[in-house]
Point group: C2
Chain length 298, copies 2
């Protein structure tokens, strides 16, 4: 399997599903929905939904109906996108550029961007609980909702972002950076893997292994993000390069230098793949995704 064509195919599969699972920009709230759709459809690697689908495949292989997981995959992308829209706000990271395009508040204004984020977050839970979508049992849906809510909220992504913002321009121990990374980035990545696995009926042993896999690739993902922010250009990234240093954010390269940081990312990917030893070749996409997270250039 070739990772680039796999990623491309999966990305298109998920983006096509937006037509079904995201409201159209029409009716009373068309401007608001347009603002939501703007950020949701402004590119993106769709890593979280792809991880969700790949984890389901690893557990059950061809027996999983991807249609059942598409609402979950879209919900994950809604939550990820809302987090970017809010992170980019002037009061937060104050970024003008995201994925090579104007950020939401630059185009729609700050109030509309806050509400676009609120709308995307809430829509995720609408999708996950919608009785019209998919044939997953209520027990599975409910477990997926709780996994995603816990990972994206105050004890996960939102808490991590709050800690990140509060620690700008401050010196703090490396353990705090680990907490920021694991909550701000790792939690939702792990939840994406677990949501797919629960949907596909994984047993507790598989869930434990996949949770560890998720944590390791989440760590690798954030380390590589730190590296790219420090070493790539704005053009390569499609977002402002060097913003971490400018905002006084602690990062892996700031603690360890670029070379040691690269090794740490590579080790995390290696650990992630070790978590998959009990899985057969249906977990091949998960293994390739781990490699991709290390080699990605944006």
């Amino acid at each position: 399997m070739e990772i680039k064509s796999y990623l491309n195919e999966q990305r298109l599969f998920i983006e096509k599903a937006f037509a079904t699972y995201i409201p159209e920009a029409k009716g009373d709230f068309s401007d608001h929905i347009q603002a939501m759709r703007y950020s949701l459809t402004a590119g993106g690697k769709r890593i979280r939904p792809i991880l969700c689908m790949a984890a389901a495949q690893a557990v059950e292989g061809e027996h999983v109906d991807p249609q059942d997981l598409l609402p979950v995959a879209c919900a994950l992308e809604c939550i990820h996108t809302y987090s970017l829209v809010h992170d980019d706000l002037p009061a937060m990271d104050n970024d003008d550029l995201r994925r090579g395009k104007a950020t939401n508040h630059i185009l729609h204004g700050e109030a509309a961007a806050i509400l676009a984020g609120d709308g995307l977050l809430t829509w995720a839970f609408d999708l996950l609980s919608n009785p019209a979508h998919g044939t997953l049992s209520s027990d599975k849906k409910l477990r997926i909702i709780h996994i995603i809510a816990r990972a994206s909220g105050s004890l996960g992504m939102v808490g991590g972002q709050a800690l990140d913002i509060a620690n700008e321009n401050k010196t703090f121990p490396f353990s705090t950076l680990q907490t920021i990374h694991s909550s701000k980035t790792g939690a939702l990545i792990t939840a994406s893997v677990l949501a797919g696995a629960v949907g596909a009926g994984a047993d507790e042993k598989q869930l434990t292994a996949l949770e560890q896999y998720g944590k390791q690739i989440g760590l690798a993902f954030q380390i590589v993000d730190d590296l790219l922010n420090a070493t790539a250009t704005t053009e390569q990234l499609g977002k402002t390069a060097g913003s971490d240093a400018e905002l006084g954010k602690a990062t892996y390269p700031a603690y360890f230098g670029v070379e040691k940081t690269r090794i740490k990312a590579k080790n995390a990917v290696s650990c992630a793949k070790d978590c998959l030893t009990e899985f057969d070749d249906k977990a091949e996409p998960l293994r390739l995704l781990a490699d991709y997270i290390y080699t990605r250039s944006h």
Copy 2:
């Protein structure tokens, strides 16, 4: 039954439940959780959770275990509180005062307030899906989540707030004001009633009646809000009086004058109570709540 003592008793019952259902401000994310708790515990009438409990009682009377509905009630208050925190932001209504206290961003800063709102919203869905809370069936929980997500998101409260902000200082038809009111305020109030009713096992006929009841008291609630904003003092309200006029917001009094507006609010309350004719005296709290919504002074 005396409405004031009923409301007070119910309010204390719900506020006591925060100790169980809202995370404590400790650990890695203590500052963030403290910011969430600040707005959640800064007073409030707790109308939505009380409506939820009262609707459950109307359907099943003494057979409902209130403990099963407390996570739902707390989730509704989390969502209502998040909406206030975000509405008060400088980019939105830019309000310094809420319930007689400094608004969240005044005390914690804008970034922390945005994240406190995000955290409260997400926590609501964590609570609603938590397997450790209550004995409602997965089917009921899932239905409640979907009712609440639909009402509070882009096709409900968030959409209404976006429409409200986008129409500041504009002239628009009365039908647009009706859409703003029914989505921004009515939807979550109706959802509060329906969530309690679903939790208590209401049949479809009861749900239809209670949905109509919810819509009418939602309308009355917003009309009275408009009236109070125009006629009461900042001290009486605990939030900035006259802010609607200052922000160029269309309101019922602006369309109809104060006296005709009062009559419209009274009519809505009357219609609300008419929706309850099929219910026995276990619906007495819902009837009294309808009256209270008209007579409230803040």
